[in-house]
């Protein structure tokens, strides 16, 4: 009876949304930091092509992280 009173569907959704979004944003942002740091190192070593690739990785990671946050906020606002 107690279990029946609980909206397990909403709870499970909250759990997996939190895990996916929280871990996802942290991982993607870390990848962006790797890209930025490696790009800076490679530029100092005059390896411009590799530096450009890491810059693209940094930009892509940053855009993806920002996109995930904005998408999450839109979902919260849209459902209310």
């Amino acid at each position: 009876m107690i279990v029946a009173a609980i909206n397990t569907h909403a709870l499970i959704k909250m759990v997996y949304s939190s895990v996916l979004a929280g871990v996802g944003v942290a991982v993607v942002f870390s990848v962006a930091i790797v890209g930025a740091a490696r790009s800076s190192d490679l530029r100092r070593e005059h390896r411009t092509a590799a530096a450009a690739a890491y810059t693209a990785l940094a930009a892509g990671g940053l855009l993806l992280a920002v996109g995930m946050v904005i998408y999450g906020l839109i979902l919260v606002a849209h459902k209310s």
């Binding site: 609980i6 906020l73 459902k79």
Partner: protein, 367 residues
């Protein structure tokens, strides 16, 4: 006429509660960013206040849960809402005075439930709603935040582990600015709505809103957003110290992971309409980011004291809400009781703040 007076007192009290909520919970939002020196205290608090204001406009699902999910709206009177609010404020001030993080949200709902029980008995409490929308989410949210922050920091260290600490630290400092902002936004989204729900509940009791067509008027949203933002701006430095440095000593990556985890859990809960305790969630994520690095890095004794304060919040605030209702109705069903209690509350608050300021002022140095 007396109903109108009580409604005005309730709205003023609810907004005062919202202010104390922002004041009390500033620590949740900015403590990690300040303790890792990602941002200086003053801009951190200003940013948190602004984003709390914005966040309050993001969603109304939590307000609906608070307004119609826990108690029978037919049993609600403006005096009941008033007593619940005063019970919650009293508990918030007590925990603030002793430097204990508690939960403003649980204090509010506990106070309301206690006042309803005093007024109409246990039958007027929606036990299933309390269990499903408050107690179970309250129990599972901090462990989720702990897990998310823990897994995140392990993956983050694995990803950035071989890089020079300088650029990594700089990157995560920027990340922590963003995650602090997101946490402030999520705090406004969840916490400001609780006050909106209570004010809307008082409007239902007063007959301004039909219980069958429950909604939150725009002026209530704007007023609640403003009150929580002002409270956040004034800040709660004493509790910042507890949350920010006494649970664990953090690096910027841990701070980033803890804040991102806290923000995502609060936003996911807001989307489902759960009135979570932001204090519980961010403390869980701080512990998760610390424990993942080194279990002994977490000062479990302090964490245990905090958990003790949480456990006490719901029953203590309920008891206070019930006692305040009993006192208010000693003077009849009019506005006299709430007026007297409001004056006593204001005088007590002034005395507590003056005493706290006197304790915080250092003694003059004599040669």
């Amino acid at each position: 006429m007396s109903g109108d007076i009580i409604l005005v007192i309730v709205i003023a009290t609810a907004l005062a509660f919202d202010f104390t909520n922002g004041f009390h919970d500033t620590a949740n939002v900015v403590a990690t960013a300040i303790s890792t020196r990602a941002i200086a205290p003053k801009p951190a608090v200003a940013m948190a206040a602004l984003l709390n204001f914005v966040g309050a406009f993001l969603s109304l699902k939590v307000a609906a849960t608070v307004g119609k999910g826990f108690v029978d709206t037919n049993a609600i009177t403006t005096t009941v809402v008033f007593a619940g609010l005063v019970g919650a404020i009293a508990w918030n001030v007590i925990t603030w005075y002793f430097g204990l993080p508690s939960s403003s949200s649980h204090a509010l709902i506990g106070g309301l439930v206690g006042a309803v029980i005093a007024a109409a008995g246990f039958a007027a409490v929606n036990g299933e709603g309390l269990l499903s929308n408050l107690i179970v989410p309250a129990i599972i949210a901090p462990p989720i935040a702990f897990l998310v922050a823990g897994v995140s920091i392990l993956l983050v260290y694995r990803i950035v582990g071989k890089l020079h600490p300088g650029p990594v630290g700089h990157g995560f400092r920027l990340g922590q600015l963003a995650s602090s902002g997101l946490l402030a936004l999520s705090h406004g989204t969840n916490d400001a709505q609780k006050t909106m729900g209570v004010i809307a509940l008082a409007l239902v009791a007063h007959g301004d809103i039909s219980s069958k067509a429950f909604y939150v008027p725009d002026w209530v949203v704007v007023a609640s957003a403003t009150a929580i933002a002002l409270g956040t701006f004034v800040g709660g430095w004493r509790i910042i110290k507890t949350l920010g440095t006494r649970i664990i000593e953090m690096d910027v990556a841990q701070g980033f992971a803890a804040q991102a985890a806290g923000a995502t859990v609060i936003l996911a809960a807001s989307s489902a309409g759960y009135p979570l305790s932001t204090t519980h969630v961010i403390s869980g994520s701080i512990m998760g980011s610390g424990a993942a690095k080194r279990l002994s890095a977490v000062r479990w004794g302090v964490a245990g004291n905090i958990v003790g304060a949480w456990t006490l919040t719901l029953p203590a605030a309920a008891l206070m809400g019930g006692v305040v209702y009993a006192i208010a109705t000693l003077f009849g069903n009019g506005a006299i009781g709430p007026l007297i209690i409001s004056l006593v509350l204001l005088a007590t608050l002034a005395a507590v703040f003056i005493r706290r300021l006197q304790q915080a002022t250092p003694a003059p140095v004599t040669p």
